[in-house]
Subunit: 285 residues, 4 copies
């Protein structure tokens, strides 16, 4: 199996490195060539466009930041679709809207190629440590072919049948994450207004039934005014927005989601490039 | 030190039993005498009213369900206040509003007695297992006197200086718990509307950075339609309501809290006596 | 100018009758032929499909209930698009999403035909009384050609340049209407819980600076438990949902809109076919 | 009947002037004596403290900004309560919390004096034009005695039986006003993000079923960035906060109220002294 890899951002280069480390050779494309500096092995070929990657690979992995970035790679001149043919497999690790993922699946299938959506749970450090959780949906045979590679990247893989079930599950996961993050932020905000010692508050929250490693990590960062990005604020908002639209289409009743999304939107102009936990600052300002 | 204990509800009897088990004799009062059947030792005397408990004890512990229940015990004819005198210590384990706790503190102090508010984190099982977390505020000497007894009941004690800091911290803790619970409930609600397998969703939520034992326990209960009460829905709402009023008085910005409280209020007529996780049902109905 | 008219629902038949009353002959299509019974003149020809209407008319008016109904009429076999040709004008009175309106505009233009979106403000009675407000956007020449007909239907016409500005304005209008309606419903709900006389409350609300005819009408209906439909609850929710999606795409901060939409969604299973003011019942139940 | 008047703020001096204009002599107290410059007649006596006003008057009117200001006037040394005696009537025009109004009523009654709560609807201009709406509750005979004076100040008086019904009604009125104001602000905010012409939007909103004079006035002010105070932003928030607490105590379901109150709270640090319609700015910033 010849492997292609498109997208060398923070997440993409970490994943690509794990494939290289496992001994697989990669056909690589990235909008900016200089990102190959982040690769830890020379066992790759950089190609000039996504079409060439598709033509020269059996499985093409993509890891990009959003719908628009994927659409550029897929549908431009010399884009991915132009290079696809029968039985090639496209695996999209990017978190995109479920609507776009379905559309992308349809377009890939029209070329008689196979499609897997495979959004991941976990950010930079788990990506580097091959400790991601992969949520995969799409053609079962494609999944079986891709799974050996998934195992080099992840601690766990969920297979969820048809597209866009994996997108759905990723969105639900991040919906829960966003509201849980808000719970911490609002608790610390009220505690501050009450003149409580925030270290004590955090200590207590880390001792009870709902203690979790995100509260521990993000709580400490908030107390240190450390908003260095692990999971970007703007991505959190993007995913909450996906959930809001799904809830609208399915007539699901999600009031906390809706309001948390509004608060994240409110802070976009100030905090989009910081970590998601900057929502604490958005409450104060 | 002679000990008094008032309130033999689910929590109160569990705590009283741990004191009895540790070899302390108790002067006991409860509105209904028959609740003494839940006590696991005979080393107590049941007295006819709170005044007698106060007169015959050095430290009086109270564990009641809300402000009104406390006020009845404290201020009625033959109530606690009538029996207080210099240097007696009143310890209130009940979760009450911070306003009421301050008022109670003032009234006890007027009798030259000492007051500790000591709301606990943890429900029935931790109470039985002497694994509560006690949040204590009030007179430092009273705290030092009460602490040896606290250690028989809890895995951890936080001392927070002046009243009502412990009430504040308890309210913040339950604010975060309520919103976090809502995060789970809304995630499962949307997932259901998306026709995802809820067992898989819960499996994923239990695998990531914000996995926590409350999600595990309450999630399973929700999937089994098991709303047997650990922490009553109406108490969750009561505590969220306390937080809303504090946020109003301190002009804290807590939109998720506000909306989660509204949703809990909406379900009161149907779910008040069930477990707090019945909020999942409140989203559907 | 030969006129076509598609859609004989409550709104459509009222509008068609005003055109007939003004002496214009209509080529008519409706999914169910029997709705012609609501027409008050015989000066029309009922055609078998939208394609025939398009082929035999210079201006084709459509008034349908939502995106899906429009898409069926436009893109099915023997649909409107198949009958369009150069310089024919399509006028869509239906309130649809701005996304769909733009798409429809593009498809009509591909046939070298002209497109106007023209959602109306006002429900059944204003439609019958030729007292609608028409919000129109699209080709200026098409607007000039259609305007003489608009004048027979409306008390006022706004022209807003390019598509989808009229859709946008309609959505903003109904966003404000929905939240204002919620203001009344929540006020009456709290007043009821306070045991105030709701007639007095309504009397006061109708006396102050924000008194308006909707409060007067809907208030009385609520007090009489009269939820006969003027503007359907489900359409109010649909339009709030459009606004929520626009606010998401434009990153507008609309917390009241978001929460009001959630509450409308919550009541859909019980009140969708009743009047929008049934939101009062949704608060109680 | 000898009349006392306490409080010469914007509202108080307007009301006092209407009493003077009607030929009534007033015993006046205000924290700062120099405010008498706003009085348009000399037919008054300025007294040194509220006790003297109470001693020398049969009916004492108060118009102050909030609970704290009333409490200062009523309960300080040389406060109102010290001067009360049998059959004197206290009329409180101030908008205070229903809890405080009930407490004040009880304290006045303990002196065998009579109490009326009489919050007004209408701001500066209606106060000057004797066009207020007075909401009155309390002793019926006191009401009959005070009513001739009310008629010199107002266009309409509602009598609502027992305290705190008038406070309740005032709070409900302002709850509806606050949410309706938010409807306008969010509509204009979304419209701006959609690049619509806000003058056109306002024109449309002023043409439909929910057109009202507040939308007209506040809408124009918003478009002109004119936030000169008619009704202070901080008073709007205060009243929304009263409504939130009442909704909590009565377990009323008021999600839009809750969230609008949060947004008003968020803007307090920037807009408290501007007009309530500065909520539009709070959405943007």
């Amino acid at each position: 199996m010849k492997l292609g890899f498109i997208g060398l951002g923070i997440m993409g280069s970490a994943v690509a490195n794990n494939l290289l480390k496992s001994g697989f050779r990669l056909n690589i494309y990235n909008r900016s060539r200089k990102k190959v500096k982040d690769l830890t092995s020379d066992d790759y070929e950089f190609l000039d466009n996504p079409k060439l990657v598709a033509q020269n690979s059996d499985i093409i992995f993509m890891m990009l930041s959003n719908d628009e970035a994927c659409e550029n790679v897929v549908s431009s001149n010399n884009g991915l679709l132009e290079g696809l043919s029968s039985n090639k497999i496209v695996v999209n690790f990017s978190t995109v809207s479920s609507y776009y993922s379905q559309k992308l699946c349809n377009e890939v299938n029209k070329k008689n190629a196979l499609f897997l959506e495979a959004p991941v749970v976990g950010s930079k450090i788990p990506a580097q440590n091959a400790a991601l959780i992969i949520l995969c949906a799409g053609d079962k045979k494609a999944y079986e072919a891709a799974n050996p590679y998934f195992e080099k990247l992840s601690k766990r893989v969920f297979y969820l049948d048809a597209v866009p079930n994996a997108s759905y599950l990723k969105i639900v996961n991040n919906q829960v994450m966003g509201i849980t993050m808000q719970a911490l932020a609002e608790g610390l905000h009220l505690a501050k207004k009450l003149n409580l010692d925030l270290n004590v508050v955090l200590d207590l929250l880390n001792s009870g039934a709902f203690a979790n490693s995100m509260f521990d990590l993000k709580g400490k960062n908030i107390l240190n005014n450390d908003y260095n990005v692990h999971f970007p604020y703007e991505h959190m908002q993007k995913d909450l927005g996906f959930a809001v639209k799904l809830a609208e289409d399915k007539k699901a009743f999600c009031p906390a989601l809706s309001i948390v999304n509004e608060i994240y939107k409110k802070g976009l102009s100030s905090y989009s490039k910081e970590d998601m936990c900057a929502i604490f600052e958005a409450l104060n300002s």
